[in-house]
Symmetry: C2
Subunit: 139 residues, 2 copies
């Protein structure tokens, strides 16, 4: 069973489960070190609401806040995202294998050749790519 610091993963995934919080991370990606008020500006929610979202991101370790005088600036901390991605990567073979099978299907004839006298060629799937066989094959 996969096990990557369960409580940390809980906090990371929970923090990422909100579109405003994901948008805040995206803004910090574009504007590293943005202040809390700069971050809050484009969002149609109150500053206290943004502060709460930043608390959740900070508790999950996804951002680091630094106070300079009266200004609090934020920067992204990617380490928890890397752990989340490592957890998901365990399942990556599902979609890469699906892609591999699709690629194999497109690359070579995966279907048994029909009997020479067959007249049911219409039931065979359309081929995306021509093979090296000559035009004389019975399709």
């Amino acid at each position: 069973m996969v096990n990557y610091q369960p409580a940390a993963l809980d906090r990371t995934f929970a923090a990422l489960a909100d579109p405003t919080r994901r948008a805040l991370l995206a803004r910090l990606d574009e504007e590293p070190g943005a202040s809390v008020s700069e971050l809050a500006r484009p969002f149609p929610v109150s500053l206290p609401a943004i502060m709460k979202h930043l608390d959740v991101l900070s508790d999950a370790g996804l951002i680091v806040r630094t106070k300079t005088g009266r200004t609090v600036s934020c920067r992204l901390n990617p380490a928890p995202m890397e752990q989340a991605m490592n957890w998901l990567a365990h399942y990556e073979r599902y979609w890469t294998e699906q892609l591999d099978r699709l690629a194999a299907f497109l690359e070579q004839d995966q279907w048994p050749a029909p009997p020479a006298s067959s007249s049911s060629a219409s039931s065979r799937p359309r081929r995306k790519k021509s093979t090296k066989r000559g035009p004389s094959r019975s399709r």
Copy 2:
């Protein structure tokens, strides 16, 4: 700003934010098509609690349940995980760049050469790897 079907991502990340649900996915990875009662067996929680977790996973599209007679079997559906991973992959450069910088540091001298008369060589970091420069350089 990154945008991958926000509501679907909300559900995926929220579903993954619980260790029991992640463990259920891990079990379905090991035992595809396991029945609900088989899935519930190793967990120290009630069957109704497991059913609720399975509801959350199903609502997020992470599992598919099939009823055959009185048995409900589950299988993993990886598509939402792939979307979550694609979202996280946007930030992947943060940790790959960190690794690249570390590799570059270990591969080559990142430090300015000291004045020829310097006697403070002891404060410089140990070098992991020798360079191609000859032994005559002033270190």
